[in-house]
Subunit: 381 residues, 2 copies
């Protein structure tokens, strides 16, 4: 086990009555609340009304339109529109994109420079971080219980990550019922995103971290067992709850503490979707098995453990490794998602630039070579 620091101050309010607590959770922070959300689905499924009924004693303004793969341009616009309102608290109502965008907003609202600084300058620090909470509507990214965000700069074809200690939500409302109306496709993407987050932390070569390994395996098994249920029976409360809790636990510092992490798959996906605007998890589903294939020698020991403990495989080491990759591919495919880039009409036009960028970033537990990255991308076509 490696040395590590762990801290996660977010309060999770989980369950059927959690929306009723929004008002009392925000009260200590002040009167002026800015509500951020996405494309407006919360207006048709009733979540918007429930949130607003909790905020009737506050001075509320709202911003609709934080898009999937949230863009820095949007955050600049929110700051411009609401700087004078000077909110005491921000409430993000949505999935990972709305929450990620809101994280950049709370960092930038009291910062004199441009929001993009937080993505490219370690030293960028605001005068203060605005406190914020979330009402989660998609179980997927784990952004509701961490301090990281992925932001796209569409003009420069850049999609980058930033993390700040001030960017943990004060609270996150996790009511599984708020995910009942998700389209099948989005439910599948959520499972794949969380599954990928676990693999990025679990498929390491760190020795002697048995508890972290088993925590990871606990999440993987729970995701597998509940994935088909949320797709075929979207209003199944217990399955939605199990997926929602799993997604939060998949990226809240818990399973990555004390182990080497990888994240090559995520970096490759970020570069791809900086050029081609595809859903994040759609890319992860396609890239993950091809990445596993490239690192199967380096990570042989862990892949055998993964194959035996998660997929109950037996046979020679090589058979288990190969079958574990195949099982991962089949699992994603069984959720109904496209398993090649050509299904998304993506060709290799931007591959040379993507490969160059990824080599510079030194991605993976042991940095992948240009050749390895090229193989992964070509095998994804």
């Amino acid at each position: 086990m490696n040395n590590f620091e762990f801290r996660n101050p977010t309060k999770i309010v989980f369950g059927t009555d959690s929306m009723d607590k929004i008002s009392s959770l925000i009260k200590p922070f002040g009167k002026k609340v800015l509500v951020t959300y996405g494309g407006g689905s919360i207006k048709t499924n009733g979540i918007y009304d429930k949130v607003m009924s909790q905020l009737k004693d506050f001075d509320v303004k709202e911003f609709a339109g934080i898009e999937p793969n949230p863009r820095v341009e949007t955050i600049r616009k929110i700051i411009q529109d609401f700087k004078d309102f000077d909110p005491d608290f921000v409430l993000a109502v949505g999935g990972g994109s709305v929450i990620d965008g809101t994280k950049l907003l709370v960092a930038s609202m009291h910062y004199d420079g441009d929001p993009w600084d937080f993505l490219v300058k370690e030293s960028a620090e605001p005068k203060k971080y605005l406190p914020f909470g979330t009402v989660l509507t998609v179980a997927a990214t784990g952004s509701e219980m961490n301090n990281g965000a992925v932001i796209t700069n569409w003009q420069e074809h850049q999609k980058l990550v930033f993390m700040r200690e001030g960017c943990y939500p004060v609270f996150s409302i996790l009511d599984p019922q708020n995910t009942f109306s998700l389209p099948k496709e989005q439910s599948a993407y959520g499972v794949i995103d969380a599954f990928s987050h676990v693999l990025e932390q679990y498929l390491n070569t760190t020795k002697d971290a048995p508890l972290q390994d088993r925590f990871s395996e606990s999440i993987l098994k729970t995701l597998i067992e509940n994935s088909q249920i949320v797709i075929s029976d979207p209003q199944n409360y217990q399955a939605r709850a199990n997926i929602m809790l799993s997604a939060a636990m998949a990226l809240n510092n818990l399973i990555g503490s004390g182990v080497d992490e990888d994240w090559a798959t995520h970096f490759i996906e970020h570069e791809l979707s900086a050029f081609y605007d595809m859903p994040h998890a759609a890319g992860l589903a396609i890239i993950t098995p091809r990445w596993m294939e490239q690192v199967k020698e380096q990570k042989a020991k862990k892949l055998i453990q993964y194959g035996t403990r998660i997929w109950n495989l037996s046979g020679s080491d090589q058979e288990i490794i190969d079958a574990s990759i195949e099982k991962t591919f089949s699992f994603f495919k069984s959720l109904g998602v496209k398993m090649s880039l050509s299904d998304w009409n993506i060709d290799n036009q931007h591959f040379p630039e993507i490969i160059k960028r990824l080599v510079d970033l030194k991605i993976g537990e042991t940095p992948l070579t240009a050749q390895q990255i090229e193989s992964i991308l070509n095998n994804c076509l």
Copy 2:
């Protein structure tokens, strides 16, 4: 899964270099630091010197002598002695008893009433909680990562629990090396304490909490696998690290979120050791299997899961249940601890009073009857 709230703000600093960070971790809180510790073993194993070298730029006072099963009388004395010093921060260096005693101290230092109020009055609230950190020297109770404490009032033969939001440590230093010099017996007690904490939360009848179940099973397996190593090879860093992380995770709100908990075994042990001054985990080892026997019908389903997943048992349901209890007994015994109260020269003299108290407390997921409690106690003799 039940509705729940989860929050745990403690920062864990884990590993071989963690002691080096004490100074910078305390700095933001002020200059005046009160260090609390126990019987003085930290002076012989070098921990005291390392802590003090980190505090050379602070105004430091110290209190030695928070005893095992910490007593309210001791906390009253500390307040009396250091009220005028008016510390900015308290650093608890020790195991669960030192940390528990320090929690009552930080609640009481700025409270006008008597410290015991926190044990018996929900409404007791101090003007402020003193911030505190811990340097853990025994992996066992999990007090380093929660907001609860067990305090004994020896005059009144009472041993009670209190919890307050202000009683989470700001940070906890978890260096597995700090447990290298523990006597075998204490290492065994630590494993048993953590194991029991998991069983109290895991052996429930809550439906549909598969992730919490698997997290619990992860901790149980890690404890089992590493227990003999820390006893036979006390300086094995990785085994010490695995036990240390497991003990913290066993009682930090994680595995108890969303499930019904039991805690009957702990309540029985608290009453026992309020009359007979025996180590906490010594009591747990003896009581746990006898308690399982009493609740084996009510908790049949979970005991079968426990038997099959943790002990790889097979057979009829009844065979698995009985064998799972026997395995638990044998596991504790294999760690070298006494498995009956008579080995501690404890007779049934105080049983009637203990039973009366426990019935009033309504202990267990489904409250145990006087008859059940009597059977458990008699079977422990």
